[in-house]
């Protein structure tokens, strides 16, 4: 649905021929006509969409304006983006939940105020500012150490030679700063909600009962408290993912990763309908998948749902 709309809007607003027509000297009319036919611009938009969708079903995402097949590049770009997303979201959830739990347990202590302030500032900082600040920080660290420990351009060093292990190290060096840029925002986002849901649970009767029957406080908190407090969080994961995708676009752009987000920006700048529609489809699939994952998590955490 979203893909159809994106495709239609993109087809209606983009004007790839305009770029061609403005070229100096103007190309002959015949070649413009030929290009139009190549891009199916002579057909009405719904028909173009059907043609494109038909290709997608067979695993063919069409060609870019510069006439390169999209499918070739798609796999590599998805890999790049997913690596960033998955690491970012895993770290974000893990530390976000941890931070939220800790500040709920130690409510109104110094650490709680500190965590609150930290996440408030982070939530007010857009990813592109955060990313650039991290870049500056990484530059500072590199300068003070004297070597390039934290590399923040690209995802691998071009022409890097070495064995598998060295390759891994090289990728890790590239990975740290961009992942941090994504994860910090996620940590702030999840910790806020985790804190309030944990506070709800802390005042509940069943936790007191658990302690009364002889569990230690720690055991009661983590076995009974945390699990219950995580249930409302499961629904948030789906929303958090949407946030992540947009954040990923900025992050890829800032750190020179050639992932899906970067492709979207390139696609729109080049007025390329096929690229834009492909990326939209990818985003839609991601969001659907995260929604499904949220449902699964929900069922895993809340036995009442499994019974139904």
């Amino acid at each position: 649905m979203a893909t159809f709309l994106a495709f239609t809007l993109a087809s209606a607003t983009f004007d790839p021929i305009g770029v061609l027509q403005q070229r100096n000297p103007p190309p002959p009319a015949a070649s413009i006509e030929a290009k139009k036919r190549d891009l199916h611009l002579d057909q009405p938009i719904p028909q173009r969409f059907v043609t494109w969708m038909g290709g997608v079903v067979q695993g063919d995402f069409g060609r870019t304006i510069t006439d390169r097949p999209i499918t070739d590049e798609l796999g590599r770009r998805i890999g790049v983006s997913l690596r960033l997303f998955l690491l970012g979201i895993t770290i974000g959830i893990l530390f976000g939940v941890l931070l939220g739990v800790v500040s709920a347990i130690r409510q109104y202590k110094f650490s709680d105020y500190f965590a609150t302030l930290f996440s408030f500032i982070l939530l007010s900082t857009p990813v592109f500012v955060l990313g650039t600040l991290l870049k500056m920080g990484a530059q500072g660290i590199n300068d003070s150490i004297g070597t390039n420990v934290l590399i923040f351009v690209g995802e691998t060093t071009p022409g890097f030679q070495g064995n598998w292990f060295e390759h891994l190290g090289d990728r890790l060096q590239h990975l740290i700063v961009p992942t941090l840029a994504i994860a910090l925002g996620q940590i702030a986002y999840y910790s806020r909600y985790q804190r309030s849901s944990m506070l709800d649970v802390l005042g509940s009767d069943f936790l007191r009962t658990a302690q009364a029957k002889g569990l230690t406080r720690r055991k009661a908190l983590f076995k009974h408290g945390l699990r219950t407090a995580l249930i409302p969080m499961a629904t948030l994961f789906a929303f958090g993912f949407g946030l992540l995708v947009v954040g990923g676009t900025f992050t890829e752009r800032i750190f020179g990763w050639f992932g899906m987000g970067d492709w979207l920006v390139t696609g729109i700048s080049a007025q390329d309908t096929n690229i834009t529609a492909t990326v939209t489809l990818f985003v839609a699939v991601c969001v659907l998948f995260s929604g499904w994952l949220a449902d699964v998590l929900y069922a895993a955490l809340d036995p009442r749902i499994r019974v139904n």
């Binding site: 649905m1 979203a2 709309l5 994106a6 809007l9 993109a10 607003t13 983009f14 004007d15 709920a104 409510q107 109104y108 105020y113 609150t116 408030f120 500032i121 939530l123 007010s124 900082t125 857009p126 592109f128 500012v129 650039t132 600040l133 870049k135 500056m136 530059q139 806020r192 804190r195 309030s196 849901s197 944990m198 506070l199 709800d200 005042g203 249930i231 409302p232 949407g242 995708v245 947009v246 676009t249 900025f250 752009r253 800032i254 979207l264 920006v265 729109i268 700048s269 007025q271 834009t276 939209t280 985003v283 929900y298 809340d302 009442r304 749902i305 139904n308």
Partner: protein, 325 residues
């Protein structure tokens, strides 16, 4: 009351805040109006107060600041290229010699105006659509809620980015409309829900039986009763609108040259941030501080206008949980 920052503190704060007349003792002889009570509660929240001062200061600075500086955003100083901040140019200069202070103020102006307009438009639309849907029900409700659901599914960032070639070269006001178009839906749903309950109240029924037209009932009886929600919503929307605008402008999909906004400044200078940090740090700093201030004011307003809001929200959460189960 710094605890106001935290959403789940119902147990800690409502006890103190909801007992209005007790903890905010009115001066003898003066009746305690609701407005005064809200005002007192808000003033007691230090963070919200700081935020309000910062926001007002920024609006003032954005419009008065350029008048005080001797440089303007469209003139260049050919004796200073890429100079770090010094007495002549307090924010430094960029690579063609434009004063960064003048540029930042110009960008701040645009971003703040866009934020304010988007918030006003989207909150107005939300109030009208939500109240109309809730009041009339039937076909109007079905259609409006269908539009709401449709717009909620669409990724706004993507759509506006895709449409950006179309409003290139046109007025920035189009961008305002686009941003507003994607920001009203959630509020409209809440407004609809509140209208459904307000509709059954005696004063609305009384007005209806007195022969007031629906338009008047909505404008005079229903919407004013949701004022607190709408004020909070408008405040928070200013922040998110500014964030959305700067995000789009960062990629060149939002505000287009010759206009400048904080987003275009940050985007244009992010590349050189490691070597010429002042080009990036000043606009970025203004942006972050502004959004932070808006969030604090929004939180403060919510606690002052609606001390039970956290409790309500918790109940809702439980309801949805039970429904899901």
């Amino acid at each position: 009351m710094t605890v106001i920052l935290n959403e789940g503190d119902a147990a800690g704060t409502t006890g103190a805040a909801s007992g209005g007349p007790v903890d905010a003792a009115p001066e003898p002889g003066k009746a305690m109006t609701r407005g005064r009570l809200v005002f007192i509660r808000f003033m007691r929240n230090k963070l919200a107060l700081v935020g309000l001062v910062v926001i007002l200061g920024m609006y003032l600075m954005a419009f008065v600041g350029p008048l005080l500086s001797k440089w303007s955003y469209d003139t260049q100083d050919y004796s200073a290229f890429l100079e770090p901040p010094y007495s002549e140019h307090i924010f430094g200069t960029d690579k063609i010699g434009t004063d960064m202070f003048a540029l930042t103020m110009r960008g701040l102006q645009k971003s703040l105006i866009i934020g304010l307009l988007v918030a006003l438009i989207s909150t107005t639309v939300a109030a009208i659509v939500g109240a109309a849907a809730g009041y009339f029900l039937g076909v109007a409700d079905k259609t409006l809620m269908w539009v709401v659901d449709l717009l909620l599914v669409l990724p706004s960032f993507l759509i506006i980015a895709i449409l950006s070639p179309w409003f290139r070269g046109k007025s920035w006001f189009l961008l305002v409309l686009m941003l507003a178009a994607f920001q009203w839906m959630i509020t409209a749903r809440i407004v609809r829900g509140m209208t459904l309950t307000l509709k059954e109240r005696e004063f609305v029924k009384a007005a209806k039986f007195m022969g007031q037209p629906a338009r008047k009932i909505i404008a005079k009886h229903i919407v004013p009763n949701m004022a607190s929600l709408l004020i909070i919503d408008a405040t928070i929307n200013v922040g998110s609108a500014v964030l959305a605008e700067t995000g789009l402008s960062y990629f060149g999909f939002g505000v287009q040259s010759p206009d400048v906004s904080l987003g275009t400044l940050i985007g244009g200078n992010a590349e050189s941030a490691t070597t010429f940090p002042w080009l990036f740090l000043f606009p970025a700093g203004f942006l972050v501080v502004f959004v932070l201030a808006v969030n604090w004011v929004g939180d403060g307003l919510r606690d002052a206008l609606d001390p039970t809001s956290t409790r309500v929200r918790r109940k809702e959460k439980k309801d949805t949980k039970e429904k899901a189960a």
